[in-house]
Symmetry: C2
Subunit: 150 residues, 2 copies
């Protein structure tokens, strides 16, 4: 049994959101949602669906953004992270620890901050631990009063 | 609208299947299916589920395998490809071409060859075209007479 519900999305780091969006729309008929900005992480991102699945495109807003570092280290665009959705982040992290797992960091948003109409609680597993993959563990809850984004 | 049904799986290239399997089992409670070998591509792979989602681990069977080249060029393990499932590969490729898209190559199996109990028809879009992501387009059909693998 897994405490992971499944892959919520696959996120790609790109140098230019417009160019990458045009590609996924043109080639695959992807449907994009509005752009969001996470200023304290230095990223802008655009979620989209391709068929029944969700993906997102990420672009750095400043040079010290983890997305800027990814593009430099990776030598170009590519898969930045995979989001594993969990029901309850605290329980998931406790279970992960019990299994000998290790969380690289936990990212906390200010009260009331939402993205895509959801409140998020999240943590990350380092790619060095996870065979080159940055794993994003996320618990998300729809919010009714959706004054979106920060 | 998209001719893509959704992400069928995310495949990771690793140097050692056993080690990577132990990690995904231990940390996330992943459930593995039997290993398959695709000899003409020089790969062994193990499909698995994590929650409701499918992933797979890939290992090279020889030095000229695309997975061996990936590990060298990428400098280690990581996301090797994403599989987009399509209903009808011929129709999907015709639609992709109509949209200005480009297929890097189409891979054809001998009649009767199955993997995981499915007959597969597949093509690949080059990562240079797709923002660093190797996109695997796959049509799969369950087979009743499942003498699995080649």
């Amino acid at each position: 049994m897994s405490f992971v519900k499944g892959i919520e999305r696959v996120a790609l780091a790109v140098p230019d959101l417009d160019e990458a969006q045009a590609f996924f729309e043109q080639w695959f008929g992807a449907v994009f949602q509005p752009e969001e900005t996470i200023e304290d992480m230095g990223i802008r991102y655009r979620p989209f669906t391709v068929g029944a699945s969700k993906m997102e495109l990420l672009q750095a807003t400043r040079e010290d953004s983890p997305v800027a570092r990814f593009l430099e280290q990776h030598g170009g665009p590519g898969v930045h992270h995979i989001t594993f959705e969990v029901e309850d982040l605290d329980a998931a992290l406790a279970e992960l620890e019990r299994r000998g797992g290790r969380v690289a960091y936990r990212h906390t948003y200010a009260e009331g901050v939402t993205f895509e109409g959801y409140a998020w609680r999240e943590a990350f597993i380092h790619p060095k631990d996870a065979f080159g993959v940055l794993i994003h563990l996320a618990e998300k809850h729809p919010v009714t009063d959706a004054s979106d984004g920060p």
